[in-house]
Assembly symmetry: C2
Homo-oligomer: 334 residues x 2
DNA sequence: CTGAAAGCGCTAACAC
DNA sequence: GTGTTAGCGCTTTCAG
């Protein structure tokens, strides 16, 4: 691999001149620059990124850390982060946190291979984040609330969202409402559940333990939980799925059992992933402001990087999206 | 930021001893190691990844380069690449190629910030790839066919897939079949189109130009193209969408217009993305072996990295997935 | 087992 | 304008 030294030698100039020419410094004459560029071309010279980063001690790159690089939920968010990064002239890399403490994500964090990071990976422990963040390495956390210096939280009000969803179901005349949760240790799932409970108790309704199932936030889990409810024989009037993926799994389970949504049972999801409007029936759900959250997170990172002050916590709100998976049965009741 | 030098000083040992201790070299005594580790802890020492990479001149990281970090199609593929990378003790980062020659992807490629790369980004030009690949930097290309030293192709037989899809439609009794294509410059779209044409001509059918529309491989595009066909007034008996996303958009357009699938018109997609079986009706489609392709690509990369010889090109085949969006009307014809 | 020293490839003073 | 030089932080010979 040719180095800048080789280029300088071939061009017959000093090392630094080559460096200047290559980075377009105005000091070098056009003629010299041409010579250097030509030499670089001949040698198929490629600058070594690490050497540069090491020297500069900044990378011009931020990391987006995700538990799983796949998954529909993240799509919009990634896109918005991407956009903001590009606008700011920064590069963005996505790393996965699968593998726990040996994961790429943790390694990149610990070794500070980027200038900052946005975290959406519940499996990374709080301490790692707290230890890693610093005045020269800002971190924006989107998947939980941690109060610590140098850590900024961008959150979505899941409690309110859970409350809104449940409330909507109740106002549509439903009295028995199941909640299919995400993983038990999920911050988001817990918040939504709190909201669900609040709406229930406000309406004088009691939670029934047989109607609290876990679906792990995945389609398959929603499907299984729903099947289980069906097999048990007693169905609620409505079910609130902790996210859209599980709701979609649930829809399939209902369909397979000849139970029609929303005629026989109402369904509401959470997130408003892109596919939600394409399933049948189109899914009524609680929209999370994914793009907004992503943009905000990225903007905050760049603000910190450029020395501006930002708040420690930002709370975004959800929004009800009415489609066709919930039926208003309050009239029938009368 | 504390450096290894500070650690060595605090621990009262030489620089190299600290380095050895930190990397677990067996040369240092347990006692010394403990001293060093303790000093590192006290200083909250973090090794500088770049310095290490620079010295070692390898990164232990591979890059997966995607046009768009989002999108459902990639999910499974990413997951399988991830898995193989983890198994091989390598890190994986995903970079986007949006932004063309200024994109993160191109920068990482040119500056060789990883040990190798897997490409799934049609917007990166052939030359960039050819110039970048080398004996010390293997590249696996999944989105087109390029013959060049150091470049390995992992392809899916789209022509055969397009043929199979169309053939299936014809055998189910359909005589007029539309094709909704991806972008015109898409290698994949072209291949599928070739297969479509082959099946058509083999059956003595003619392609009708009014039934060749472009949907750009996105849901919205499929929706619009379908709407356009509907507005034009004359519908084919079946439509072959270049990918599932467009087919799902099409399904929605049909539903909105009161045209029922598959009773009034048959629909077939391509890819078999996860959601395909959850839409209504469940989508009949051509399955691309996404996980297999991802695993293979990653395995090849590691084989090359460890000095093994591999073939230049690997071709994977597709598979028909029969669900409910195609109706057999051949009986009716008789 | 430990320590001194030589760079990895590059940038950025600083002197000419 | 151009060249000399001192490191960035780390690994790794090579002597002791």
């Amino acid at each position: 691999m040719a180095t800048i030294k080789d280029v300088a030698k071939l061009a017959g100039v000093a090392l630094s001149t080559a460096s200047y020419a290559l980075s377009g410094d105005s000091r070098v004459s056009a003629k010299t620059r041409a010579k250097v560029l030509e030499a670089a071309r001949q040698l198929n010279y490629r600058k070594n990124g690490f050497a540069m980063d090491l020297k500069r001690s900044r990378t011009n790159t931020i990391a987006l850390i995700l538990t799983d690089l796949s998954g529909p939920y993240y799509s919009e968010l990634i896109r918005s982060v991407q956009e903001v990064a590009l606008d700011n002239g920064y590069d963005l890399i996505a790393c996965s946190s699968v593998g726990g403490r040996d994961s790429t994500a943790v390694k990149f964090l610990r070794e500070k291979r980027t200038d900052g990071a946005i975290i959406l990976a519940p499996n990374i422990r709080d301490e790692v984040l707290i230890e890693t963040a610093g005045p020269r390495f800002p971190i924006v956390i989107m998947d939980r609330k941690i109060s610590s210096e140098y850590l900024v939280n961008v959150l979505v009000d899941g409690e309110q969202g859970g409350y809104t969803a449940t409330r909507y179901l109740i106002e549509s005349g439903h009295r028995s409402i199941a909640y299919i949760s995400g993983p038990n240790d999920s911050y988001d799932s817990q918040l939504r559940y709190q909201g669900y409970l609040r709406a229930l108790s406000e309406a004088g309704l009691e939670e029934q333990s047989k109607w609290r199932l876990s679906g792990n936030f995945v389609r398959e889990g929603g499907y299984n939980a729903t099947k289980m409810m069906i097999v048990q024989g007693s169905l609620p009037e409505a079910v609130f799925y902790g996210n859209d993926e599980m709701a979609i799994g649930g829809l399939k389970a209902f369909e397979e059992s000849g139970i029609s949504v929303p005629e026989d049972i109402s369904v509401i999801g959470f997130d408003d992933i892109q596919i939600a409007e394409y399933v049948s029936p189109p899914l009524t759900t609680i929209r999370q402001p994914k793009s907004e959250a992503g943009s905000l997170a990225a903007h905050l990172l760049f603000q910190i990087l450029s020395g501006e002050e930002v708040k420690r916590e930002y709370m975004l709100t959800t929004e009800m999206v009415e489609r066709s998976s919930v039926k208003n049965i309050s009239v029938i009741r009368k």
